[in-house]
Point group: D2
Chain length 309, copies 4
């Protein structure tokens, strides 16, 4: 069984860390740009319950775009595949994650997939609940179960900071409201979405959630089905085709692991039937992915032959 | 002197009216789609104070996009040319009036011109005033002076109806707020903009305002300078290059009169140094211009050789 | 071991055939639009050498876009990964396969991936050889080895027909020549490319080539390495992320098998480490994929749990 | 009568010359980039036959995009307005002059106007003649008559140089051939078009042609009608709405004179009913217009109140 020693993992992490100098921390969200670009932590969560890690695993990161996968899983469980995909497409796109162009060009207007911002907002819109508060609590409850960690919550400060500056997401929402893709109050949706993005955890939690997806939705120890198989597979598919922003295609070629990154520097990986990976490294490459995180995954994939392809 | 007889004008109007059957009334703004597509009225306002008209000139129309020219004039007077054109460009565009694509593609992001919605919103943002109320009152005061009609106001019902449904304009505003083109509260700006679009008048008022532009900003009788010459010329230039939506180029070739149309079916024309024209005919062609109104202007231009070119 | 009985396969094929009535044969290439939309054939090629099939397996199809995968493999073997991906990107796109827009918008100009026409032309440009004739013969030699069938060739009539009408591909080539992505004579490249697209085989051959990719490049019986492992994996990755035109994302979710389709109605599938699939059914759905072919793959994937995800 | 003294004109030219340092000579056409950026010449041609000039008026320039206006006039005379505008639109565009995007997005595909490259190629395609040779000779004959100068011809070297490198224009042509906008051999059309662009003259000739357009197509002295009035007006309209590349709107506001520029640094101006202007100054601004030439026109317009608006 590969990668069960913390020492191995630490060595890989040390090799990857030299790349942090070529990246930079996200600056467009005020609450994020104070992260130390050299901090790096990584965890691998195995089905048998053992977990290896390296770096300062107590460091927390906000999920940001990684939350798109979790919201998609919940929305699919809440509404079913047909309903969800009547509002958002399946197809990858070469456009930037926050682009609005395709919403205007596509007839009928529809976000191309759930991993770009427009699609993620349309998905979060579908999370059930009587109120925004109930919806965020349902999402938190779901995330806590996936991570097996009842203490997970969102960071009020980050959520508030992103709420203040989320004008582009508001623009996307109003465009979609015009085209009846969403029909709730935009401020409510942004309120919910910024809290979703601000959910915080450490790389151990992240690895554990990755493991649940790797196991087709089963809790590793109790074997409880936390996510239906079909939903877990849909999520992994989108992680492959569009999980790493506009580097997803290259990442699939070079690494071949279903993974989703966020602008906070987190990456969640799911090696089907094998293990989950959680990484946190705030320095980003020019596509918006953790620069050292991608290196770690590349080295792991090469060393242990993890590519699906 | 051409076109001083109501009888002549009536005959031209009768010929143009047959085309209303090929147009249709705007349906995207609830308050507009009850207009009678066959109603048609036209007025020509001469510098000497005489005015000829045909059709039911008591009918009122809301200015809609025609107001973009008036707001531009006021913003130029309020802020100066340099300030205004640091926020909005000079160039015509082949994109639809409500398109958001160029805002994303252009670096730096900037609306292409003041006649598309994004540009008009950026211009209205520049109208001075301590409050939205003061700003709309300043605009109304300006419009009343141009028309020489102190009773002009906006229609609350139309404004409210458009405010409810202005999601695309909100989308444009938040996109521009993201890029620091505007920095006020978006709901405030939409509130002001929908009132601006709902300013109501009849074709006589419209012809009179067209005359002021035709006379380089001078009040025809008192010779008071209501608009600086340079501002009046800038407005006429945009009327030629982008006043008739995506038919501006064809209109310039076929008619050659500075003109601005609105989705309510109004057209304001300014024949430089000669006269102003006001038309109201709610049936629109596929570009969004009054179908009979364009015909009237074409016939007038041919008959009296009104083309600038 | 799944799907080793022709009877099973025949039943699946019969169920899929009812969908041909909702598709239509490609009409933009004169030589293709005479295919019988109801003809359907399918073959599965197993590593042990056994092959099951259904339908009239003697029917030949021209590879069309399926050839893009084979040319990519050869170009990667000829030039190496770094050279190839300096000319063409890795990323899927939501744009149509023949779109030129991203070539203009992307800076520097570069086709997004090897599966869209622009990228495929850039890849074919990289196939080594002193002359067009030598290059097509090298490609044929390679394809014959993959299929284990020395009689495979291209159809002169189809190649000539496509050469006549390939104006859009010429447009893409000249655009790329302007941007130094290609530097050979455009007519030569179109001549080579249309021959590549016109390579003909039946579904047994196609299944056998699919098997070679499924086996990471190894000849199933002799275990000869026909394609380097890394090249075979790159090809399978692109088959997943962009093998089925603008339905690739949905196909990955619903089927989860690396596959490449062509406008002739062919689909080549590669179930990693398991078997190869060849399908021919000329009636296409609105995305350009064989409508019955997609149904067959969906049923096979469900029945035998073939999804990679 | 304004601007009849060479001394006045010389002073304006001297003031404008200081701006040449901020511009640069076109470098994408090899034969052009050897021009001296400081050379500047200007001529004004009056209806009475007198002509004032400044700078070295013997210098010749190739027309480049200025030829688009002349080809449009001839095509309109050859084919009539309806035929020409069935192949090319009337509308200005905010896209670059050599953009291909709108050809793909617009349904049906059609170049937006005759001043962008795609539209100009479609117009040149319409020039009548049994052979390319006859067509270029018919165009030359027409240009010579307009200029009153039988010695005008094209520069073989420039034509050949542009023919070699016209890949983007070939790309546009094949795209249009695909969509049946043009149906001749692309190499023939490029051959004709590059000769058209390489027609050479000095600023006196250019001013004289500008005068003919200013006079609605009449030869100034003989009063012969060289161009029908309607055709001359159409040409002037396009000069206003899209004659100065993506600075046309700003130029209309600041200068207000129908004008057409070329990448060689030439500008032809037509002040309606007054005079023609020819300018040559090879240093271009960032929009592709002669930087000193635009300044000269701005100063002339301000000083003599030449704006149409």
């Amino acid at each position: 069984m590969p990668c069960t020693s913390s020492e191995e993992l630490k060595q890989i992490m040390m090799q990857a860390r030299v790349y942090t100098q070529y990246g930079k921390v996200a600056d467009y969200i005020p609450a994020l740009n104070q992260a130390d670009p050299d901090n790096l932590s990584v965890a691998i969560s195995h089905p048998e319950g053992n977990c290896v890690s390296a770096g300062d695993v107590r460091m927390k990161l906000s999920l940001q775009s990684i939350s798109k996968v979790l919201a998609l899983a919940l929305a699919l469980m809440d509404r079913g595949e047909d309903h969800v995909f009547s509002k958002v497409g399946y197809e990858p796109t070469g456009d930037p994650f926050n682009s609005i162009i395709k919403l205007e060009i596509s007839k009928p207007s529809k976000p191309l997939n759930p991993m770009i911002n427009a699609g993620a907002l349309a998905v979060t819109h579908l999370i059930k609940g009587e109120s925004v508060q109930e919806r965020i609590e349902r999402l938190l409850y779901f995330v806590r179960k996936l991570a097996g960690n009842p203490s997970i919550s969102y960071c009020e400060e980050i959520a508030a900071s992103e709420f203040e500056t989320a004008h582009l997401n508001r623009s996307l929402c109003y465009f979609m409201k015009q085209h009846s893709i969403i029909n709730e109050d935009v401020e409510n949706l942004i309120y919910l979405y910024t809290k979703q993005c601000a959910i915080e955890m450490n790389c151990l939690d992240l690895a554990r959630i990755g493991l649940v997806f790797a196991l087709d939705g089963f809790e590793p120890l109790t074997k409880e089905q936390l996510i239906p198989v079909s939903v877990a597979r849909i999520c992994k598919t989108f992680m492959v085709t569009c999980g790493m922003y506009n580097a997803s295609g290259e990442f699939a070629v070079r690494v071949g692991i279903p993974a989703k990154s966020g602008v906070s520097g987190g990456i969640m990986g799911s090696v089907p039937n094998r293990f989950g990976i959680g990484i946190f490294g705030a320095a980003l490459d020019d596509k918006g992915n953790s620069i050292a995180g991608v290196k770690i995954l590349e080295m792991l994939s090469k060393k242990y032959d993890l590519s699906m392809f």
